[in-house]
């Protein structure tokens, strides 16, 4: 979307969104919320967040640009405004992040009318939570190496295999699933399914425990699980192409059907505040020249990211159409990681204190957030793979395989 002034409808919507968010601030959560949607562990967290997404959806802040036939608002250019306003208001994140940012855009692009009607509204309201079944023990960065097999039997597919790192799998009703339907071709042997998860026969969801001690993601086992052919998305053998659509949205190159929220205090403000209350040998970290330099470096990197997102929408200042979009995943995940790492360093002795310790700065946020940050530098194609893609697709260097 090229950057231009908001039209009148968009400006009115912006005002409406602002007013609605001001008047409908959610109640304080009954339990501690995780940092992002993919770390939601407990039913209490889920219920609270699902309730919030439903309210946002009913208010028109989610699915704003999705056609009305499929439960959306049918507008143009509203979603970005809604996302910005939710971020600005510092509201909780939307729990159905995979549904909104991956499943819905992919279904809208590749699905039949019936599939759109069946799957999109529940994803927007948050009533039906989605998870993603792309990663396998042997298919991480080499995503096309899928071993989960779907065999055609009449009008049905019988699925066997093993998916891992499945965020939200324990609450999910549906999964966007890539499975192998032919062993003849690596890429053209893949097919994309919209697969039932919750309570479905032959599907077992088991929580994986992360290095942080938190759950939130899972492994999913398929043992003769039956999926009707009506839940196949696009053609047999087109799975790789469809998955690329999903990943374009996942890696932040496109708008998605809803998002925003989740940020409260600006991360640099948090670091500065921390440096004012952290000491080394009796001296404030805010007065330590090395720490000051590192905080300012982070501030510059943060601001640079923000301004680069802005520049991506000024075609005259972009040399290659994918140059900025494909950087997004690497820069944001490493930015978050280095912010968290700096927080750990500033906290010093107190950085050893974890979630349960009452004296832990920011309730243990820094070590927790630092450890969690590896989820994002690894997921969605490791940052090493992203750098290959950037080097090859944007700079045109030889493929590293």
């Amino acid at each position: 979307m090229s950057e231009k002034k908001l039209n009148q409808d968009q400006a009115e919507f912006q005002q409406y969104a602002r007013d609605w968010l001001a008047n409908n601030a959610p109640p304080p959560p009954p339990v501690r919320l995780p940092i992002t949607a993919i770390e939601v562990m407990s039913v209490e967290q889920r219920d609270y967040l699902q309730d919030w997404q439903r309210k946002c959806y009913e208010a028109g802040l989610v699915g704003s640009d999705v056609p009305t036939d499929y439960g959306g608002g049918g507008n143009t250019g509203f979603q970005r405004i809604a996302n910005q306003e939710m971020s600005r208001a510092g509201t909780p994140f939307l729990i159905n992040v995979i549904g909104l940012s991956m499943a819905v855009p992919t279904i809208l692009e590749h699905g039949t009318h019936e599939q759109k009607q069946k799957f999109v509204p529940g994803a927007l309201s948050g009533e039906e939570i989605w998870c993603q079944g792309f990663s396998e023990p042997g298919a991480g960065s080499d995503m096309a190496n899928q071993q989960t097999f779907a065999e055609k039997r009449g009008d049905e597919w019988v699925v066997n295999g093993h998916k891992v790192w499945t965020s939200l799998g324990h609450f999910a009703k549906w999964m966007i699933l890539i499975a192998r339907t032919s062993r003849e071709h690596k890429y053209d042997g893949l097919t994309y399914f919209l697969c039932p998860i919750e309570g479905h026969e032959g599907v077992t969801v088991r929580p994986l425990v992360k290095m942080t001690g938190e759950t939130g993601f899972n492994e999913v086992l398929f043992e003769d699980a039956v999926v009707p052919d009506t839940m196949r998305l696009d053609d047999v053998g087109k799975g790789w192409t469809v998955a690329m659509t999903t990943l374009t949205f996942e890696r932040g190159a496109a708008e998605g059907a809803g998002g925003g929220g989740g940020d409260t205090v600006h991360p640099i403000e948090q670091l500065i505040n921390l440096s004012r209350s952290s000491y080394r040998d009796g001296k404030r970290m805010a007065d330590d020249p090395v720490i000051r330099d590192r905080i300012v470096q982070q501030a510059i990197t943060n601001e640079g990211f923000r301004q680069t997102q802005k520049r991506a929408r000024v075609p005259a200042l972009v040399d290659h159409p994918m140059r900025i979009p494909l950087q997004g995943k690497v820069t944001i995940t490493e930015l978050i990681q280095s912010n968290a790492r700096l927080g750990v360093d500033i906290a010093g002795a107190a950085s050893t204190l974890y979630k349960l310790d009452e004296a832990a700065p920011d309730a243990g946020h820094w070590p927790l957030s630092y450890m969690n940050s590896y989820g994002n530098t690894i997921a969605a194609g490791t940052n090493e793979i992203q750098r290959n893609i950037l080097g090859e697709r944007v700079l045109g260097m030889a493929k590293s395989k």
Binding site: E3, K4, K5, I268, I272, S275, K283, R284, A286, D287, P289, R292, D293, I295, V296, Q297, A299, I300, T301, E303, G304, F305, Q307, T308, K310, R311, R313, V314, A316, L317, R323, I324, Q327, V330, T331, E384, R387, N388, L390, G391, E392, V394, L395, G396, M397, A398, K399, S400
Partner: protein, 389 residues
Amino acid sequence: MSEGIPAKNFGFGEDEQMLRDVARKFLDEKLPVQTLRDLVAKDPDAVYERGEPTRWDEGLWKQMVELGWTGLAVPEANGGLGFKLAGIVGLVEELGGHAAPTPLVATLNATYVLAACDGENASSALGQIADGATASLAVTDAKGSWDASACDVSAAPDGDGVVLSGTAYFVQDAAKAELFVTLAERGSELILCVVRSDTQGVSIARDHIHDLTRDQGRVVFDNVQVSGTDVVSEEAKSPLARAWASVLVTVSADLCGCAEWQLQATVEYAKNRKQFEHQLGFFQAVKHPLVNAMMEIDRARSLVYHAASCVDAGSDEAATASRMAKSAASDAGAFMSDRSVQLHGGIGFTWESDVHLFFKRSMHNQALYGDGSYQRRLLAETLIGPIEG
């Protein structure tokens, strides 16, 4: 332009794009890298051993003046075009991207300081610049203090005017400049005056610098008479402070242009050069650093346009944004320069390669008006507050 709020497209609209495209076409045609080499790097001994002046193409400069480039930043009221800084950035990126030896950046920076002076006295100099005069800032002391809080030029009151004695250091393109915007100490005050380079008592002592694409020198003032009308500011700090964001932005834009050239040249090399039966770019030890450099350049470039749009909008953020831009551009320039030589391998280390022309221009720009860590030290004062205790 809405007051205080930077434009959504950084103010980079059709006019700005046209200027940039004209500059790119002009420089691609007139100053391809081979022409630049022949001009500035024919003989390695000329500049570095025999101490000859760095060469530049005055004829090419005259064409730039005819294109109106010296008048771009001059306010309309003074006969210039009053072009937005965002547009100037596009032009200066091209200058950096061609490592063009011209006094344009020095002239632009002098223009910004003159335009920030209150009163009428600066208008004559601005008018001359709009008509094609070259200019440079002579505001730095022997210690290389970028904050212009002290200087080694004294101004003795003399009728309406002053008499200048002393030396201004690290003056950019001093040998090319016709006008010096000079910082001088009059009693306990710092003032700014305009001095023509051909004035009686003014002499230039050339610095022997590594950058082959510009010159730098000390401007020596030996009892130089300056009339009252050439004292452009009775109080130098405010105009310098007001103009400084623009000064940092132009140099940062030059750095970004330089770095982008280095990136593209190194990527080209990584595509063409084969070792171990593979193009160099196949190896991730080559590919990934180039991607990292690209991301650093992009960050810097975005911050430069942001800073320019803050200046254009009269935003309070301009000072902070411009220091962020200079920090990011200096660091991106340093990293890109480092990788450009290293990844070119043996050839990258030679005089024969083009890489060193940009490496040196970048290194000069990195130091100019303060490198990354200097900018961050000042930014910390604003963002975190002064050091206590």
